[in-house]
Symmetry: none
Subunit: 210 residues, 4 copies
C-alpha cells in the first residue's frame, strides 16, 4: 500500500526552484524559503530531500553539466566526420546559448564558477566537467593539427584558450549585455579558433561577422 516515492520529482522541482531564483539572485541571496516558494513547496520539505542548501547547488551543477553535455552529444552526432566540423560542434553546443538553452541556465552557470572556487563540494563536479571539456577540446584541436601534419604538443593550451573564450562569452553576456550582439558569440569563437590553429587548409568560419 506504500505510495510510490516521488523523491526524484521533488528533487527536480527544488533544483528548478534554485535555478529560477538564481536567475536574478546570488546563491547566497537565494534563501531556502525562496527556493521552496519558487518550487511551489513548503520550506520544510526542502531539507527532507536535500541534506542542506549546498546539496541543491551541487545537484544544479550536475544538471547543468549534464544538459550541456547532452547538447554536445547531439550536435556531434549530427556533425560530419571532419575535424573542423567536430570542433565547431563543440563551440555551437556550448556557446550558442541563444538558441535552445533556457536563459536562467546561463545566468546560473556564471555564478557557479565563483561558488566552485570556494566550496569543495561544488568545486569537484564543476572542475571535473571543465576538465572533461578541456580534454574533449584538446582532442578536437589535436585532430585538426594532425590532419594538417603539424605537431600536437600545444593542443592543450589552444584548447584552454578556446574554453576561456567560451566562458568569457557567457560572463560578458551576463555582466554587460549587448556588448556581444545576440547570436554572434559562436561565429566569433569559431574565428578565434581558426586564429589559434590557423593554416591555409582550414575552412572559413561560418556564422560570424567578417
Amino acid at each position: 500500500m506504500a505510495r510510490p516515492s516521488n523523491t526524484e520529482e521533488r528533487r527536480s522541482q527544488i533544483i528548478d526552484g534554485l535555478a529560477r531564483v538564481m536567475a536574478d539572485k546570488t546563491y547566497e541571496q537565494a534563501s531556502v524559503a525562496a527556493i521552496a516558494r519558487a518550487a511551489g513547496l513548503g520550506p520544510g520539505l526542502v531539507h527532507y530531500h536535500f541534506a542542506n542548501k549546498q546539496a541543491i547547488l551541487v545537484a544544479l551543477v550536475e544538471r547543468l553539466v549534464a544538459g550541456l553535455e547532452a547538447r554536445h552529444r547531439r550536435r556531434l552526432d549530427d556533425a560530419p566526420d571532419d575535424p573542423w566540423a567536430r570542433l565547431d560542434a563543440f563551440i555551437d553546443a556550448f556557446a550558442a546559448l541563444d538558441a535552445d538553452a533556457d536563459p536562467s541556465a546561463v545566468a546560473c552557470w556564471t555564478r557557479l564558477g565563483d561558488e566552485a572556487a570556494r566550496r569543495p563540494e561544488v568545486g569537484v563536479p564543476y572542475r571535473a566537467a571543465i576538465d572533461r571539456w578541456h580534454a574533449a577540446l584538446t582532442e578536437r584541436v589535436a585532430a585538426i593539427l594532425e590532419a594538417d601534419g603539424r605537431p600536437t604538443a600545444a593542443a592543450g593550451e589552444a584548447a584552454a584558450g578556446l574554453l576561456a573564450a567560451i566562458e568569457g562569452a557567457f560572463h560578458l553576456g551576463a555582466a554587460a549585455p549587448g556588448v556581444i550582439p545576440p547570436g554572434m558569440a559562436a561565429g566569433l569563437l569559431k574565428r578565434m579558433a581558426r586564429g589559434l590553429l590557423g593554416t591555409a587548409t582550414m575552412p572559413p568560419a561560418d556564422g560570424g561577422p567578417r
Copy 2:
C-alpha cells in the same frame, strides 16, 4: 588643533580589507566584521567611513578599474606606434595578470561581474569600464583593419570577442586553476586576435605557444 583627517587612508585600508577577504570568500560571505578584521580596524569604524557595505564594493570596483587602466596607459606609452603593438599592449595590460597584478585583484574581479549584474550601484561603474575598454579595443581593431585596407564595420564585434576571451581567461583561471598554464594567457589571446583579424600582413604573435 583638530586631528588631521586620515579618511582617505582608512578608506583605502578598508577597501584593501574587502579585497583580501574576497580573495577567498564571496562578497556576501565577506562580513563587515571580517573586512574590519582584515583591515586591522574596529567594526564600527567601517561604517564611519562607508555608508554601507556595498559602498566598499563600489570603491573596490573603481580601484580595480583605475589600476587596470593605469597599467594599460603605462604599456601604451611604452609601445611602438604601430597598430598591432597597440593591440598587444591592451592584451598585455589586461591579461598578464600573473606578472605585476596582485593576485587578490584577479579573484575579486571575477566576482564583480555577478555583483554588477544585480546591484545597480556596482553595475554602473563596472559597465562603464567595460564599455570604455570595448571602445578602446574597437579603436585598435579598426586601426589594424584600416592599415590593411579592409572595411572596419565589424571592428566592434571583433573587439567584443577579444574582451570576452580576456574576461574568460580571468574566470577560467580562478575557477579551474592550471587549465591555462601560468603566463600563457597573453600569448593565447594574441593569437586569437590574429585569428579574428588575420591576414598575411600581420606579425606573428609573440609569447604564446605555437
Copy 3:
C-alpha cells in the same frame, strides 16, 4: 497531518508583549528581544509572525482601537435613547479608563499619537480612528443641539474640543499621575461638554465633582 496553525494566537501574544513592554518604555526602547521575552517566545519567532517591528505596532493600534470601540458599542447599547445619555456613553467609554481598561493600554495609547505622526503605516489606522470618533461625537453633539432647536453648524468644532479634552485626560494621567484624581476624568469631561453646549435644558452631569 501538519501541525495546526497557531499564528493568530502567537500574533496576539506578541502584541501583548509589545503592550506590556510599552507600559514603561518608549516604542523605540521596546526592543524586539524584550518584546519576545515579554511574550515568552524566542526572538526569531517574532519576525516569523510579523514582517517587522512596526507591524506589531500597527497591530497594537488596531487592537486598542477595536477594544475602545467595542466598549463604546456596549455602553451605547445600555444607554437610554436620549441625546445627552448617548454623549455620556461616549465619554464613559473613552475616558473611564480606570474602570475596566487594562492600564497598559492607556500608557500605550498616549505613545501612539507621536508614532502616528511620524510613521504613515501607524498614522493611517490611528487617524482613521480619530476621524471616526470625531464623526461619532459630532453626531451626538448635533443631536443635542437639534433637540434644543439650535443650529448645528458648530457641532464639529465642539466635538473636536471634547475629543481634545478626552485625549488630554489620557496624556495628563500618564505624564503627571494624580493631577486628575482617579475616577474623576469622566465627570470633568461631562461638565466641560455641558459648558460647550450648555443651555437650560440640559441635565446635570453625573459623576463629576461639583
Copy 4:
C-alpha cells in the same frame, strides 16, 4: 588673555538643534550627530557642553517651560484685574499656539510627556511645571468661584480638567491636524472652562465658536 566663554551660546545652539530635530523625529531618533548637524557644530562638541544626550533634553524642557511661563506672565500683565480675564490669560498663553509660539516647540512638547514618564531627570522639571501650572489654574478657578460666593473645594479638580483639555489640544493638533480648526483651540477651551465653573455671572467666552 582667556577668550570669553561661549558656553551659554553653544548650549543654546545645541538645544535649538534638538528642538529642530525633534520637530519631526522622536527623541530617540534624534541622534547626537543629527543634533550637532542641526546646530552647525561638530559631534564631539555636544558632549563637551552636555554630559549626555539626556541632559540636552532636560535643558529643552526647561527652556520650553520658561518660554511658556514668560508668555503667561506677559498676558497676565496685560489682562484687566478680573478673575475671568486672568483665567483667559492662562488659556491664551498656553493654548494659542498658532499665534506667537514657534511650531517646533509644540511638536517637542507633545513628545516630552512620554519621555518625562520614563526618565526621572526629565520627569522632575516636567512634573514641577505641570504642578506649577495646575496650582496657578487652581488659584484662578478658586478666585472665580469665590467671587461668585461658591465653595472652592473642587477648584483643583476643575483646574485639572482644564489642564487636560489644554494638553489634549496640543496632542490632537499634532497627531491629527485639522480636527481642531486653526485658531479655534483657545475659544473652545474658554467655553469648556465656563461649563466647568459656569453660573449666571460669567461673561461669554470670546473667540470660540458658538
